[in-house]
Symmetry: D3
Subunit: 130 residues, 6 copies
């Protein structure tokens, strides 16, 4: 159980309903996942978060699959189970293979390792990198 | 100052020197950055880390630029200044533009935000994502 | 299952029992939650932690509800399920509404996002803030 | 130096300039701090972040000072120097005293400690908290 | 369920099988835990990780039990349930008592607390420590 | 500059002075480092933190050098520069060699890496570890 109710469609305020309508239309599916049902308790937060995610994850200088890989990388680093599972699913839907996932996590693991070696030894930044 | 000496070329053990030779040959430059000069105090750690980084960051199911973007994403999440600066430089050398960097960090920021919304509200994972 | 036994009242050392007595008296309830039953394996750690929590969470320059909100904010950032759930419950007992919880997490999410934008771009601190 | 240029007023695109105008008007000061000058490299990110911060930090179910305290709590937990310094300054401007800051950090420290005790011992969540 | 299949012995590639053989021989048991069964989807990652763990955790300047304690300390700080449980078990197998585990976590908790006090107050490093 | 004044001996309240006297006597040196001078702004926090550190870091089931190694491991994982530098210095004063420091950080790096592999792949905990 979440710490606030997960709102079903009947419980939505008109403002939250409008966001759900846009989620459904944008994703072309009737399914709305629990994350949005929790945020629906605060329609302002719901709308801002949805609008932001839609804008941030759209194609741009980076393609949507690369963006999903980055989302998984951050979520694995922070250990957010919900986000790891939902964005691993999204990345797969956009073409991520098992081989890509394993390589992604190999990079995530390596970066987490060398981050601590550099910090733990307090290595000064080279002039060449400034 | 780092918490161990940054070894100059003259201070290297033969085992560390062999790794530095490979770094120089692989990167086709005489420059060896401080991270490796700190690790050189432990030639076994130096060799393992260099061999692993070389293997992990090589082209594979993901291309090297995407891997650098992921490295920056993790390092920004963990706040490792050394790694942010060195891998931002590496990513630029592999073709990352300012526009790509800004989009990358927009995704990193958004993922860090939604990670805490999902965790803070203890949203249960949908069956569809399992 | 925790990685040490959760001690029932019969298993307590006299030193641990004295702390449990104080917990019950201070909170005016017979219920002692699992966190303290795990710590009871080390009565010195149990006593120091309880005494510290009691002192830190007491009314002072900040009121107890604000302190609970801060506890939830930190626990959501670190993703400690136990702490998120127990301190969300404590905050509700002290008057936190759903609207307050949603706003709290909106701030937590935003702070986690901008922390990574500032770190990822290595923005230098303005003189005005020093 | 940040990893992207800090834009001066003359370097702003019209879209970024419009955001800076709103920052100046909202805050009633000509000063625009470095964070926004770094984000100005991506006017879409700049606008979304500013609009979000303005909305999230406005008075609501929680008052603005409490929101600033929460911002500092998260930033201290994540160790974002820029955010610690800028939001400590903002909190002081809204009335935070030294005594309040010390109590705030006492709670932040305690929460970070007990988060690790609960996680490290894998304490199961009591039914009473679900 | 993990986000990749946990490979049973029959599903292993020859390269993965060779690593499993070494795990079994080194540990003198037929049991191979889930972590390696997940990594087995990428035999290169599996081999590198196993070889690295074997090298890092071997007796050296620090004894193996101390290394396991450090592993638990990091895993508790990051909240990795899998790692907390598997390395707590390993540490117990190497002689860790309940009293040692409780003291270990007391240090971990205290370090996590004072890390935030030092960062939150932006305490400058004394010359004596540089 | 820290975000609160670093108090000199003349600025101390009687309660803070008593703690400083104990720090000097316990450590057998006149030197009091900046961390305590920042905490001295809140004598209650100062006293509780000093008493706790003294108790936690004392010889017990774990020896004081091992406790310092754990402190460095946590501080490197969290990237607290102040704590990395002060506890690396303390560990050296208690006998930590360069070889021990390098091995310590090798374990810290490896644990941070495998934490993310286990979390990123959502590996289920084996029954044997529960």
């Amino acid at each position: 159980m979440s710490t606030v109710p997960l709102l079903s469609d009947e419980d939505l305020s008109p403002a939250a309903r409008a966001v759900f309508d846009d989620i459904r239309k944008t994703r072309n599916t009737d399914f709305v996942n629990n994350f949005w049902r929790a945020l629906a308790n605060d329609p302002v937060l719901l709308k801002r978060t949805w609008d932001s995610v839609k804008e941030v994850m759209a194609p741009g200088a980076l393609d949507p699959l690369v963006k999903e890989l980055i989302y998984v990388a951050v979520s694995a680093t922070n250990n957010c189970e919900y986000c790891i599972r939902s964005h691993t699913a999204s990345a797969r839907a956009k073409g991520m293979t098992d081989a890509m996932l394993m390589e992604l996590l190999a990079v995530v693991g390596m970066a987490n390792e060398t981050n601590r070696l550099a910090n733990g030894l307090q290595v000064p930044v080279d002039e060449a990198f400034r």
